[in-house]
Symmetry: C2
């Protein structure tokens, strides 16, 4: 499966549009943004790309799980942020691992770590490779005698289903579709659908505290984890499977967000649930952004717990063809496997219309098969493929997200808009910035921004870096978190270091020294 993936861009090779399709796409972007003429380019073929020779050979006892081909190494040279795709497109695979190991069990993970410790190699635990924060490449390969990519995707089984407790034990390398396919036989589902769902893995979600399907309540994978099994250079750390505990600080919560720097997550017990039968959906339009935010907040604080509560600003709504009348749109959804959800939807619509919203077509209530949802999900998880085309057209396109309490939201939003627009003007003469709330809480929201701007060929990365830095500074200065669900990696490290209490940084370093004394695990990710 991994080999059908693009070696340089998001997702699958066969999703790469031909030049004519990209030319049509270019005209759409020009119409939407007013950017000047966009030239269609082709990615550098792998044979012509910069790919350093491998510096290490796997030992004989790991040879059967090693892959050393240029394609395997190039594909895993970086994650899939805009920055990564630009590098891949232009054939820069300088950060490629020297070898890829695909362990089939914990013992092979242990052997890989032992070998790395012995040789002083850097080991990068690798799931779907969809990091957008430089989570899967070292800062400087030359600083290590070798870099090993530990690709976990051969460990992709659902090992055990506890239907009584609605829980399952799943190997870390299972991608979204792989684990859902295996749960389907028990009529259960994890219902965790990040945009990278098709590619990313349970272990990656846990290591990065990924954000999922639900806009309220169990928004992060954190809430779905019962226990974790993790192989470290010092041995295996396995937590007791429990629905809840008060026996001291939670070990799971230390591994959630550990970004491969503390250990290699090999499996976890997670909470699953029956597939929903009852559904309701509605969209509510607002003329004024402040009304839309107030209504979203009121729903988030109502205790109704909608599964969907995503606010699109008018630009998001326009680009996604949700509303072309210049209104901001709140998408509401409820779902349940147990009971009809028309009453909570009715109440949510009362709340939002009281605050200036208009719901033209009433809610859609349904008791339906998953087909519609599956279609929607397919479109949603497809969206990042567009970045490949953007890079080909010379358009900077990236997203970033944060979260803050409601009291700071207006100021934070304004500061980000100001800073990013200003930076786009400086580096690119202008650009488009859109915002949606992906997750909401009684005490705050997670705004998610998309920016696109015309690139100067060859200067994309410095242009991008200046816009990204402007956004990050605004977030830090106005009480946001540098990331709500995309991890720290290396891209966010400087800001995460400022956000984090310095004494807790010392605690994390002490934890790393304890579990990974030689410092072989993902060096430079999360903490320096």
């Amino acid at each position: 499966m991994a080999d059908a993936l693009s070696y340089w861009g998001w997702g699958y090779e066969d999703r790469w549009p031909d030049a004519d399709t990209r030319r049509m796409f270019a005209r759409e972007i020009q119409t939407l943004t007013g950017f000047g003429p966009l030239e269609v380019r082709e990615p550098v073929p792998l044979g012509e790309a910069t790919l350093p020779d491998p510096r290490v050979e796997p030992p004989a006892h790991l040879a059967s799980v090693a892959r050393e081909g240029p394609r395997e190494r190039a594909t895993r040279a970086h994650g899939r942020s805009y920055r990564d795709i630009v590098r891949g497109f232009y054939g820069d695979f300088a950060s490629a691992p020297d070898v890829v190991l695909c362990p089939r069990d914990d013992e092979q993970v242990r052997e890989a770590l032992a070998w790395a410790e012995e040789r002083g190699l850097a080991v990068i635990p690798y799931g779907g490779g969809t990091s957008v924060v430089q989570g899967v490449e070292v800062d400087d390969p030359a600083a290590h005698p070798g870099v090993v990519c530990l690709d976990m995707r051969a460990m992709d089984r659902v090992l055990e289903v506890d239907a009584l407790s609605h829980a399952a034990r799943i190997q870390a390398g299972a991608t979204g579709p792989r684990l859902e396919d295996q749960l389907r036989g028990d009529a259960l589902s994890l219902r965790f659908f990040p945009q990278s769902f098709a590619l990313s893995t349970l272990g990656g979600w846990i290591a990065t505290r990924a954000g999922g399907h639900f806009a309220t309540r169990e928004t992060h994978i954190d809430d779905l984890v019962e226990s974790i099994r993790c192989v470290t250079p010092r041995g295996t750390l396995e937590t007791r499977r429990l629905p809840a505990s008060g026996a001291g600080p939670s070990a799971d919560r230390m591994l959630l967000g550990s970004e491969g720097a503390l250990g290699v997550i090999t499996e976890a017990w997670v909470r699953v649930r029956p597939r929903p039968f009852w559904r309701a959906r509605a969209s509510v339009r607002f003329r004024e952004w402040t009304d839309a935010v107030a209504a979203t907040r009121a729903v988030a604080q109502s205790g109704l717990g909608p599964s969907n509560c995503r606010l699109l600003d008018k630009r998001e709504a326009l680009i996604n063809r949700v509303a072309t009348d210049g209104t901001h749109v709140l998408l509401l959804g409820f779902e349940s496997a147990d009971h009809p959800v028309d009453a909570p939807m009715k109440r949510a619509l009362e709340i939002t219309t009281d605050l200036g919203g208009v719901c033209k077509h009433g809610p859609t209530l349904a008791t339906e098969e998953e087909a519609t949802t599956d279609r929607w999900r397919a479109a949603f998880v497809d969206a990042p493929h567009l970045v490949n085309s953007m890079v080909s057209l010379g358009v900077i396109a990236d997203t970033f997200e944060t979260a803050c309490t409601w009291d700071r939201l207006e100021e934070l939003h304004a500061a980000i808009v100001h800073a990013v627009k200003d930076a786009m003007r400086r580096v690119a003469g202008g650009g488009l910035l859109t915002c949606r709330f992906t997750h909401v809480y009684p005490d705050g929201a997670a705004p998610y921004f998309t920016f696109i701007a015309p690139a100067k060929r060859g200067s994309e990365l410095s242009q991008w870096a200046e816009i990204k830095a402007a956004a990050s500074e605004a977030i830090l200065a106005h009480g946001g978190t540098i990331t709500h669900h995309h991890a720290v990696g290396r891209t966010h490290r400087a800001w995460a270091d400022r956000q984090r209490a310095p004494l807790f940084t010392e605690v994390l370093r002490a934890a790393k020294r304890t579990l990974d004394p030689a410092g072989v695990l993902n060096p430079g990710a999360l903490i320096a």
Copy 2:
């Protein structure tokens, strides 16, 4: 306020019943249990008790916040478990701190820690003093040149209310009533009501991962914490106030459950909410325990999210006069500040009656003032006062709780019942064991047990220790947690050490060395 508290027993001096009242109570217990004649005794007066002379004098700059009187020291000699109350009743205050310091601000906390580090003293961060796990006394006072009780209750203010975000910044020493009184002006409430509510403090709840009001969803204080401020010997650790974040492992989650061993929590931002207006209550009776458990599980997995979902076994139901017909009773409650809750109650009753439950009097729906709830809460928080009388009558009375996944529940429950009954038979010729579920989750439940048995005067503590060990062994052997919401302290340490992944114990030790290099903070609590 602290001085109106009993120096030896649970709660307030003026709640100590006279000998006649206790004699009546003795007859009730005899009727209920068949225990032999119970003799009423009086506690050893403070003047005749064992209270070592203080070994250290506070420095001049802390003299104004120091208390050194025998009563102040004796009151804080231990927590308020059965074991503690027995020791207090018989005048054993060997573990009394040498001095009590009551800081008024972070600076005085820092000064206290600096003094302790300089002199090598043990410092016990102290909230309501209601620990039931030996959380507030060192194992051996002689092992330290002095022991300082850092009583946080002078820091009891709500410092800031963010009504927009439903959040408040509250000092750690605020007890339940203190913080609720201050929030009332904004029509907000933390709605966190552990049984120790009247006495215990926000800081204590956070340090021990206390369990609160809600039987589902936000069951632990963990879920209500936005950020924590904590003074350590190395400086202040303050986390960023956020509704959610994915920026690496959560520092809050390391402090939640830190039991005073990593730092002194001085304040926190917590999530508050409007007081509920809509309510529904019902009780459902079951002939068979297995039916009752199945129905409780079905409600826990329904997504309805009742605020109350407490299952009392027939013995609990009888003792609490909830049902005298030998049935097990599921207490259901829903509450909302936003919308009526009759629909979810109706559905919960459908589920439970489908599974063999009988709800005789239909649900009580109400839109009411807090008065009724306040009365119920008063009775609930009053209950632990009974242990004082039990000790006076020579009755062993204690509770313990655990949590496990649904698949292990039946076996765990049976093993605990067997082990505890067997131990009571051995050490006391018999006794009574009751069970209720205090909190439930989609993937499991938290059973809470109460045992009472006749004591042999003078042997109470060894009798109790044998019963407690039997219960703890059964919990560990059958997949439970050694504590669901009463912390590790010293009572549970041996079992928590076995439950916890050894590598995580090393991580906790490394965290402690980082934040408390001299090891002055609550030595022996949580980790040895």
